[in-house]
Symmetry: C2
């Protein structure tokens, strides 16, 4: 942990002072993105110290050849990885012919880096003394445009402080890049051409195997004291790079600056023969608007995002910074414009983990996007899975399932599996249930049923078929059982009758049947179209129903709790509180077998079911299960504290809820897990949002109505959040004294507050004392 | 399967006709070895077709960097692999300057390969027509000397048939070799020097990391029509190879031949500075004896081995060939001269699987070596584990065990773990029990108790400590349980209370306690020495006893059988007979999860316990368990059919016993599993021997006496085997009519035949009708 490195600030992430050992972690923390592309906060100028270079284009991936110790049937031979794309941000800088390199210069003063989340830009400033004793002041600003999402812009200023000096700016494009996590050192990019045209340069390259065509481009202008100067650059190019050099003698105290616009055009969005044309077009647009104009637009675009998504916390600047960092990174990663994209676990901040889509999206991210954006964004995320349905059916076929049963992959980029641990890939099948749950959750929240007859029902059917086939009948139990699974608690593998999985399987079947009936009754043409496609018979549905009706659930009469899986009570049930702290985190201290036979739980498992299906259980049942399982929970997944925070708040245990909240909200900023150098934990950031809105705010949708039971940690003066509920915008402000509800727009909204129904009037406040 | 490729023969493995697609599998089948080294049957001359080159030195290994998909704590970072050693057999041949290469020549006639098991040599003969239309006849003979086990000898003869021709022999040494199964393409050998001295050449090389120093050497002589000719060779050397070239114009019909002696001296057996000296010394010895003399000695040495180890089968030449192939390969792999060595699963015939030692040695191989060699050989195998005890304790410590608990590795070369699948490496812990069982088995068979106070007791204590710590107390069962294990049936992973494991754990503790008491009473100085070393308290022993006395065993009252593990009866219990044959072998057809949740059993699991501890169960119990489990057993391990064959014979089901026998005895010769090109299944070959001696012959040691219940498959006229029981040699010959026992030597022996005690007189026959 590193609790005092990032300066507390309401709106910015700030680093002060240069520390070479922190360069890689700061590259992650200061990452920028615009939903279409993103990059680590690598320096523009050369840096010879330890660095992790990364620039990523949404949707452009590479199927790396799988690496295993011991092959198991069913593993994917290749799997998609987040792909490092050509570098367009680079600007080498020379001062009197010496390269500016923070790792090798004589001295650095006043190094400061700021990620301004309110306005969406990254800046750096410092004074450096080079080995040639020239001291220079440097200021940079960089952003990836939300408006023109194919471009980013950089302004780089340098001022010689103690002498006149010849300064050279060498902006470049470089396609000679690799992935840090390549399995076999394969080449990922095939460079097709390197071209230039006046101050513009273009590299056409395609990915090997997947053949994504991209054009990486740049255009630069240089200034002395803000006046444009016309310098014809020297141009050098190789087979995979091009570099322009602009040099000028600069007087002491004068400022030489460069504005570089760069980015990517991709054949996902353009004809592959038109990529350079498209690049020239967007460069022209960007140049017309200009760096300052682009920056103004950036501020406006972020203002719009924050206007809807911001959460304020009064009286706790670190908590405020934490929640904004989470919201900011989620928006940098995914904006919901493109249903081919999804929310990668590391977003655009690193390469770790192949693929971009986990069950995190359905279980954790959809509520955030549903409430802070137009509902079309959540619908896009659902459509992403609909578009992968055929692949999910093929995936299930690889594991022996038939007749349209669908198993969505554990990790994916294009619908194909991107993971190869049998206990996860083949057995952590509860992920399939989260995909059905998200359809239910979307309808519950938005009241938009149209998605189900149009697309969702086919997904529900494919998933119900899977569960029907995956369950087997136990003669000895006279019930259907689900053998050999891994639940959300990945610290148990290949267990029988994981309660969460069995419960979800039963629910998926029931929900599919319910919607088949509803679509049959109310959307007959969709019904006919779907039934013709999926060939579903009454007898098959009866067989599903038989499985759901006779599903086995492990239960302890002694403890009056559902058991996480068969045999859970055979474990040596020593609580985490009684585990020596030297043994933690167990995933770093213990061998895997020891973890597996221990009672320790990585993240909510039975309690995940209580979170999803809260209304099916009484408060007393929740309390009993929380009291039984939480004491064994080590929360070694970034997805664990948020669910527990929400449940602790529901149980009125506000101190515990607050502790869990802190753990989730500043996970990366304070580098709790000592791994932020690899990238950020993007998907769990949505859990942080849920901790406040669903946990402290107590927001639910019940009986087709929004409801709240607002609570507040004693450490805070107040907090507020805003949500879009069925196109009505509601702002909620909670203080120690009262809660204020403010409804925008023109319509009234009926909500429940602490179980009392109230009618909110538009453009009006409703105060409820606490 | 490939049942008609190898020609049936009593004593030889014979291949007729050249088939390039079978080169790799024949390279495995015709492998030769002498316990100290071994090699695949690669051609001496160049071969440009598909081939798997391999020459291996016993005890010389390389710790390759582990490759995994996803790392788990506790995995070994490096693990030892069988290492391909420098090639000394190579002899390039040119005919009128064209290279002789069976893959590229115009035609091949009369290709014949023979592995003569009776005399221990490999030969090849063929006529080849080269692209230059010269036809040559070639005859080769090669063997690795049992007497001088650092050398092998090759005679290579070539006769131009249709013209005079200039023939060049270019014998060479080549240390520029690699392993086929290298994980990271690392270099394994560091060549120190390449030297020559007259007709001798030497390459000094050491292995990277492990620094095994070796000298690979050769010396050649050439002959025309058997007359030595003195040709000064041309010598070329590179940094890692040396090649001598002898050429001569040979008349049509004349024979040009070369005798090459080569091999390795290794610093396991010599000072590393003396390796070339040692090589010269052994070359001198070999040259003095000469090729023909060496070959004569080879025949004598094999005669001695066969005299003790042979099993004859009358009336079934394929069964005869099969059992001799098994016995031959076991003796080629391990002769028991060196307690640093062990019996690798592929012997010297391939690289697959890291390490050389599995529980196969204790469970399957020791009975064979115990009965067919001097008992010192079995004792050497026990000492191998004693010598690794410290490493086994370290291995257990890595998994969180303390205070001298020992967990022997799943696979090892030097005592360190050589495997990295968590479900095997960390969980297939029953292997530990086999090591204690082998100590018991050795004492039972040899009556040599001295091993236990001298060495074995420390091993028994380390293993008992492991089981005590590995079991945990289940409050809900009020018994000790062993959670998270993989039994011998590797088609179940991470199960709870595998009956075999729990039974073995209980037995190991009981046997350790029994021997502690006996050593205390009868070997007090050993007792004091050991107790001072292991620091064992009475209270610790009491704690062990508490675990053993209160061990939980899953049992079904309905079926009256012990259950393979908790929850076995929840499976969908469809027998193998009712499984569509298109689904088999399931390990090739099904994904891993499907295998795991199926009831199918890879190899004896509960029945392995019934095999080890037969006397603890009634015949009715055996029958009930056999009838319950065998129908679910797919026998997809080479170790499965032998145990079932023995038990079927015991149950008087001779047809079934014979079917299992066939499956084990010609597994490789008929390539049942289509993988013989990777190497042979050496350890399971000992199971074939057991199928006859223990299965058909019904040999046991009961109450300190040998006992037999001889049976015979109806397909055979008779069979015979010989055993060394406590230094008395007994030959048993079973026919359809009677059984004859013939005792060698000077002492009488009391044995039980079909439950009747008889006294055998020395040098006499005892006939018992059937």
């Amino acid at each position: 942990m590193n609790q005092n490195y990032i300066k507390p600030d309401q709106w910015s992430i700030i680093e002060e002072g240069f520390d070479a050992s922190r360069v890689k972690s700061s590259e992650s923390l200061f990452s920028i993105g615009n939903g279409a592309m993103g990059q680590r906060a690598n320096f523009e100028e050369q840096y010879s110290g330890s660095t992790f270079q990364g620039s990523y284009i949404a949707g452009v991936y590479y199927p790396d050849k799988t690496r295993v110790g011991w092959w198991k049937n069913g593993y994917p031979e290749y799997f998609a990885k987040v792909l490092n794309a050509p570098n367009w941000i680079g600007i080498n800088v020379k001062v009197n012919n010496e390269i500016l390199d923070l790792f090798t210069c004589k001295g650095i003063e006043g190094f400061r880096r700021e990620l301004n989340m309110k306005e969406g830009w990254l800046s750096r400033s410092f004074k450096a003394t080079l080995q040639n004793d020239v001291q220079v002041a440097v200021k940079t600003k960089r952003f990836l445009s939300l408006d023109l999402d194919e471009v980013g812009a950089i302004r780089y200023e340098i001022t010689p402080l103690n002498t006149d000096a010849t300064i050279t700016f060498s902006p470049y494009l470089d396609a000679g890049i690799t992935n840090e996590d390549t399995n076999w050192d394969d080449k990922f990019w095939d460079v097709l051409s390197v071209n230039h045209d006046n101050n513009q340069a273009f590299i056409d390259a395609k990915t090997m195997k997947t053949a994504f065509h991209t054009c990486t481009f740049m255009e630069s202008q240089v200034f002395i004291n803000n006046s444009l100067v016309d310098i014809t650059p020297e141009i050098e190019s190789t087979s995979n790079s091009i570099i322009f050099s602009y040099f000028h003698n600069i007087k002491q105290g004068e400022t030489f600056s460069i504005e570089k616009i760069g980015g990517y055009t991709v054949d996902c969005n353009h004809d592959k023969s038109e990529l350079t044309v498209a690049a020239k077009k967007v460069l022209k647009q960007a140049k017309t608007i200009g760096f300052s104009g682009l920056l103004e637009n950036q501020k406006k675009a972020w203002t719009n995002i924050w206007d809807m998504a911001d959460i304020t916390i009064e009286g706790d600047v670190k908590a405020q910074q934490g929640i904004r960092f989470n919201i900011f990174q989620l928006n940098q990663t995914y904006l919901g414009k493109d249903s081919r994209l999804n929310i990668g676990p590391k977003g655009f901040t690193g390469e770790k983990y192949g693929g971009s889509t986990y069950w995190d999206t359905e279980a954790y991210c959809i509520p955030f996007y549903m409430a802070t954006k137009n509902q079309s964004v959540a619908r896009s995320l659902l459509e992403y899975r609909y578009n992968h349905l055929e692949r999910a059916i093929e995936n299930a076929e690889k594991l022996g399932f038939t007749s349209g049963a669908a198993l969505y992959p554990m990790v994916t980029m294009n619908g194909e599996e991107c993971h190869n641990e049998w206990e996860i890939t083949f057995e952590e099948i509860h992920r399939n249930g989260a995909i059905s749950f998200a359809i239910y959750n979307y309808y519950r929240y938005t009241n938009d049923y149209s998605y189900i007859p149009e697309k969702g029902l086919e997904v529900l059917i494919g998933i119900a078929r899977f569960w029907h086939q995956r369950a087997s009948f136990s003669k000895s139990k006279n019930k259907f059982v689900i053998l050999g699974v891994t639940g959300p608690n990945e610290y148990e593998n290949n267990v029988n009758n994981n309660w969460y999985t069995n419960y979800l399987a039963q629910w998926c079947i029931q929900y599919a049947i319910e919607n088949i009936k509803k679509v049959e009754a109310e959307y007959s043409s969709d019904y006919i179209r779907i039934m013709n496609k999926v060939k579903l018979s009454i007898s098959e549905i009866d067989a599903w129903k038989n499985v759901a009706d006779n599903m086995y659930f492990p239960y302890s009469k002694t403890h009056q709790v559902y058991l996480q899986q068969d045999g859970f009570l055979d474990k040596d049930l020593i609580t985490v509180a009684n585990l020596d702290t030297s043994q933690r985190p167990i995933n770093q201290k213990w061998s895997w077998d020891r973890i597996l036979r221990s009672p320790y739980i990585k993240q909510a498992d039975v309690l995940q079911g209580f979170y999803f299906f809260e209304e099916q259980f009484t408060q007393q049942e929740l309390e009993r299960h929380f009291d039984f399982y939480e004491p064994f929970t080590v929360h070694e997944s970034s997805l664990s504290p948020c669910v527990h925070s929400i449940q602790a708040a529901k149980l009125d245990r506000m101190e515990q809820a607050y502790t869990f909240y802190l753990r989730t909200s500043r996970l990366d900023l304070d580098d709790y897990n000592k791994e932020v150098h690899e990238g950020l934990h993007i998907t769990s950031m949505a859990g942080t949002w849920m901790s406040i809105v669903e946990g402290f705010g107590g927001m639910r949708v019940k009986d087709n109505k929004l409801s709240f039971t607002p609570k507040i940690p004693k450490q805070w003066k107040g907090y507020s959040f805003k949500i879009n509920f069925r196109n009505l915008i509601l702002k909620v402000h909670v203080t120690q004294q009262d809660t204020t509800f403010e409804l925008e727009g023109h319509d009234t909204l009926q909500i429940e507050i602490n179980d009392t129904v109230r009618i909110l009037k538009p453009n009006n406040y409703e105060n409820v004392s606490r």
